[in-house]
Symmetry: C2
Amino acid sequence: MKVFITGGAGFLGQKLAKKLAGVGKIGDVNVTELILADIITASTPEGASFSTNAITADFSKPDEVKAALACKPDVIFHLAAIVSGEAEKNFDLGYSINVDGFKCMLDAIRDEEEYTPRLVLSSSAAVFGSPVPDSIPDTFHRTPRSSYGTQKAICELYLDDYTRKGFVDGVTLRFSSISVRPGKPNKAATSFFSGIIREPLSGIEAVCPVDRSIRHPIVSPNKAIEFLCLAATLSADLLKDGRAITMPALTSSVGDMIDALERVAGKEAIELIKMEKDDFINGMIGTFQFNFDAKRANSLGFEGDTSFDEIIKAYIEDELGGSVHIAKKQKNVD
Amino acid sequence: MKVFITGGAGFLGQKLAKKLAGVGKIGDVNVTELILADIITASTPEGASFSTNAITADFSKPDEVKAALACKPDVIFHLAAIVSGEAEKNFDLGYSINVDGFKCMLDAIRDEEEYTPRLVLSSSAAVFGSPVPDSIPDTFHRTPRSSYGTQKAICELYLDDYTRKGFVDGVTLRFSSISVRPGKPNKAATSFFSGIIREPLSGIEAVCPVDRSIRHPIVSPNKAIEFLCLAATLSADLLKDGRAITMPALTSSVGDMIDALERVAGKEAIELIKMEKDDFINGMIGTFQFNFDAKRANSLGFEGDTSFDEIIKAYIEDELGGSVHIAKKQKNVD
């Protein structure tokens, strides 16, 4: 199985690449080649039993998309995107990359003879918008309240129709905010959800721009990778009711997240969080206070995180070597 | 109020133009100018108290769209579209006109300084797709099962986001199939719904390509015009939960429609209907067996048709001068 990842230099693309290098397969199928595509050159994972390549391509340029996909991968993970905060501030850039770029990719696939790859689109809970019920069912309408959410909803519709016509074999996963992300803050409006956990765990101050009472659905990086891999091999027979699936999420208040950080890493950690409300971000995030019933996802084998404490512990294990450094002290975690 | 109609040469555009010429206003606001835009030259209505113009423009060409809208109309009715059957058979043409053309129009409006017209988009019940509940609520997800439905759903999303950003003041009306349409069959997969009533009423044979048991939501031309006019002046305050509104429809089986024709026009009429099943059309129409609860529309003042007999009688009144001609006989209708 030849695997292609757009946004291959990004956090999720890199984590997925490392996972594939480690296990060598998706489901029961061996990976034979991995291509990481991005606008910058991605790092390729070490220790893979298959060939790995990084290619650079601008996915808003039809010729570059066509050239990149000429290798006819069996599975494409489409993770590249202009993130929410940036898409909201730069209207044209967001539509150009998130919609037109995706459409370019679909048309490049359609243009190839006898080629119908599985395409896994990373979509977002931002396709939903208030007012919402206490628990959002799988049949709830898409009413995005952001340009990013609109762009993802449009991509979902394109993917469904191109799939129905037999041009591609698409699956859309609607992810909630992925936290805890390693590395630096990005331009997503939700970036601080990772920041208020990640920075204190490294002894660095973090700003929380929203009220403690704001509730938000979260998925851990490990679960996101697990979901992507499951989507890559999901039988088309199971997808007759539509190709877009809302992924399970753990919905907690910001206060609950901070309390979990205190339980796992102590008072020193949470003292590094500065509550400095930003009305732009608070307003935008306030419209995303969602619970999902995720019945369809559960029935297909997608099972979400169960505890925010566990998400923090997994971050410490995966990214910090199992221990945390706060205020120049080292503290072991159980 | 300067009014602009795309698809102005089409059936609905012409009917709307005649209505405006007759009453001279929309809601309480006087019409001061009417522009009918289409790819062919539209007829302008007679007897209007305001100036009327027909302009030709290809709405897939950005320059032509920009030039057409330079007159800065206050209200734009966007009725132009590649219809369902044609969009299903000609994939690229459908997306080019129905999506890219609409996006061109939105961008042309956005490019004008200090200009935020009310734009009424004619969308379709085809944005929904099976499986559906017995009665589709306003919060039901858009899962189109046709390229036409997908294109309309994408336009709805664009219009919502451009409205949210303040670039335009959009309202989407989701119409069910409009019947009884006068004139000739068009390339919509639903065209026969009008044909099986219209043709017999003029003494002409008509083919019914679907089973009698197939149920379908219908809106009469007069109601469609009434809905468009209401949408043109609806206060933005009432639209905070989203700009797309599912219009009320009268859902009947094909058998019920034929029975209504017999009640209104006699046995001679229905003997002219030939049941010749077309699997392509039967399959496509079979996925549109919808009832809508239309609660939101009702709360905003949109009230649907109540009887298919009345729809047929209104067609005879409006289009046939109040009497029908079947098998060379003339028959008066009550």
